[in-house]
């Protein structure tokens, strides 16, 4: 079994789960994330998206229900080490994830802890730095790198442990547009070239455009699940839960509301221009 499965999963941060009316961070989640896919989980603050991420690799354990990674139940303590080897996680703040004073030592930290033999560590570090495009910085001090570069080092540290899945929990939130682009391109390439399943958690709509699948969370539940085109064709629903849509999507949505027959779910500048050109030339 190569996937991540949520079965009726609920989680609450309160310590008295027996009381009625307690707030659930996520409730009754049923979800399967297939190996090899690239998934984006969208939602505003407090929607439960980060809780979902932390349930995957056993940082949090379900209050009720079951999470399995490749068939391993996260609530079984014996599985935890193997699950964390299988699912790597990158967090929000690049400055909180760097442990060493030289880039390559930082990347080697994970595999060293796993007891990987030294010669293999070397080759893994090389492979990981290459995969994130940071090989030339191997001997640099991490604190002299930009936010995006630091985040790529954090990703390399995770890749060096050879995970099958990588979860990026708001890893782009503190970066500038250029740094965000770096991380998205890196995640994309890991998915396509290294066949690593990527789960990207974000509140930036534009980051969802190139995913295979978009899951929208609100108030602890999954409210939409499908292709980016499907999700972004539901502009009303997204707005109702406090999410934005990309500007091209918004423009075509406004025009459709006026009764103009334009396709829904358009996300890029080029597609919007194509659709508008076609519509204008028809002159209806």
């Amino acid at each position: 079994m190569s996937n991540i499965v949520f079965e009726n999963v609920s989680y609450t941060y309160t310590e008295q789960p027996n009381l009625s009316n307690i707030p659930f961070a996520v409730k009754n989640i049923n979800l399967t994330i297939e190996k090899g896919s690239s998934v984006v989980i969208l939602g505003h603050n407090g929607s439960g998206k980060s809780t979902l991420a932390k349930l995957i690799n056993g940082i949090l354990l379900p209050t009720s229900g079951k999470v399995t990674v490749n068939g391993m139940d996260t609530s079984n303590q014996e599985n935890i080490l193997e699950i964390r080897r299988t699912v790597g996680m990158v967090f929000q703040n690049p400055d909180n994830q760097i442990v060493a004073t030289v880039v390559e030592e930082d990347v080697a930290f994970g595999p060293e802890n796993l007891g990987v033999p030294p010669h293999e560590i070397r080759s893994r570090v090389e492979y990981a730095l290459n995969a994130v495009g940071m090989s030339e910085f191997r001997l640099h001090a991490p604190h002299q790198l930009s936010g995006g570069q630091k985040q790529r080092i954090a990703i390399a540290g995770v890749i060096a442990m050879k995970p099958q899945y990588i979860i990026l929990d708001e890893s782009t939130a503190m970066l500038d547009p250029y740094g965000r682009r770096e991380i998205l391109d890196t995640a994309h390439s890991l998915n396509k070239n290294e066949n690593i399943t990527t789960v990207l958690i974000t509140h930036y709509m534009e980051e969802a455009v190139y995913a295979d699948r978009v899951i929208v969370m609100n108030d602890g539940s999954v409210v939409m699940d499908g292709s980016p085109a499907y999700v972004f064709s539901n502009v009303d629903k997204l707005k109702a839960i406090g999410l934005d849509v990309p500007q091209p999507t918004e423009l075509l949505y406004l025009l459709s509301k006026d009764g103009h027959k334009l396709p829904a779910g358009i996300m890029t500048v080029k597609d919007a221009a194509d659709a508008l050109e076609k519509y204008l030339l028809k002159g209806e």
């Binding site: 505003h44 603050n45 407090g46 930009s146 936010g147 939130a173 503190m174 500038d176 547009p177 250029y178 740094g179 509140h203 709509m205 406090g242 999410l243 934005d244 990309p246 500007q247 091209p248 918004e250 423009l251 406004l254 025009l255 006026d258 103009h260 500048v269 080029k270 919007a272 221009a273 508008l276 050109e277 519509y279 204008l280 030339l281 002159g283 209806e284």
Partner: protein, 294 residues
């Protein structure tokens, strides 16, 4: 209410001068931030935006050149630079990390107290500032650490507003907030500016936000001002901005693309609502043409 310009004249700033780490962060900057206007500063990380912010309220002293607040050279009396810092309020990036008092009230009151404000005046200025950023009175008694991220950020903003600065400089006030939080804080800033008629300088990475909220824009690139002026003049140089690796709003890109394909699209469209109107105008004119030809 007086409108205070803030002006930089031939300003350069060098970090760690005369050491191997010497780095010129700003090079010969000449720019005026107009009184009563909201000016957006945009540029890549490392372009000098945050250095500029710190020069405006005298946290950094120019290596050469002058900073004027109104007609006053802010470094004329270096010992009185504190007075300038009260007049030019600076809200740092991620200001919520700087909250430290036991209650929200105390945190907002910290700045005005240091300026010697007390009693009823202090109460008034704190509650007015809290109101501007949309913090309800019941939150004032809470610990800042019980609040959400967006609320904490607004407490930090209120702490600066409470000093009633003539100029407010905000370094990435919306960074890291979700769409709802971002709109909320930017709307609050705009309303504050409208009511107080203050000079506001807003540093941001987001062209979309800047084009929505700013009256004027300054684009920084490699320690220099690449271009500046009204939103309209700056985005008329869309090609210049794009060729320098900065994004223009997606909506402007669509309009430029349509123009490029031969459609008579007007210039100067930077927001979705303007684009909406413009496309409707186009659709109607094409419809007429279609009818005439038939």
């Amino acid at each position: 209410m007086k409108l205070t310009d803030i002006r930089l004249e031939n300003v350069s700033y060098i970090y760690s001068p005369n050491t191997p780490f010497q780095k010129e962060a700003l090079e010969n900057i000449n720019i005026t931030f107009k009184g009563g206007k909201l000016t957006g500063i945009i540029g890549h990380t490392g372009s000098g935006k945050s250095t500029l912010a710190q020069l405006l309220n005298g946290l950094l002293k120019p290596t050469s050149g002058k900073v004027y607040l109104g007609d006053t050279d802010i470094w004329e009396k270096p010992k009185e630079i504190n007075k300038i810092r009260y007049k030019v309020g600076l809200v740092f990036q991620y200001p919520e990390y700087q909250l430290f008092e036991e209650t929200v009230y105390e945190d907002i009151a910290y700045g005005p107290k240091n300026m010697g404000v007390s009693g009823d005046n202090l109460n008034r200025t704190v509650s007015e500032a809290a109101d501007f950023v949309g913090l309800t009175p019941d939150l004032l008694k809470k610990s800042p650490f019980e609040l959400s991220g967006g609320e904490k950020r607004r407490v930090a903003l209120a702490g600066v507003i409470a000093m009633e600065p003539e100029v407010l400089v905000l370094d990435e006030p919306a960074a890291g907030l979700d769409p709802r939080g971002r709109t909320e804080i930017l709307e609050r800033i705009r309303n504050y500016q409208k009511q107080k008629n203050n000079t506001i300088i807003l540093i941001s990475h987001s062209m979309e936000d800047i084009s929505e909220y700013a009256d004027e824009i300054a684009v920084l690139k490699n320690s220099k001002v690449l271009c500046s002026g009204t939103v309209d003049t700056v985005f008329r140089n869309a090609e210049l901005i794009r060729s320098n690796g900065l994004a223009i709003p997606k909506i402007t890109e669509i309009m430029l693309e349509l123009k490029h394909r031969g459609f008579p699209v007007s210039d100067g469209i930077y927001t979705t609502s303007d684009a909406h109107k413009e496309i409707i105008r186009l659709i109607n004119s094409y419809k007429k043409n279609g009818e005439n030809n038939a």
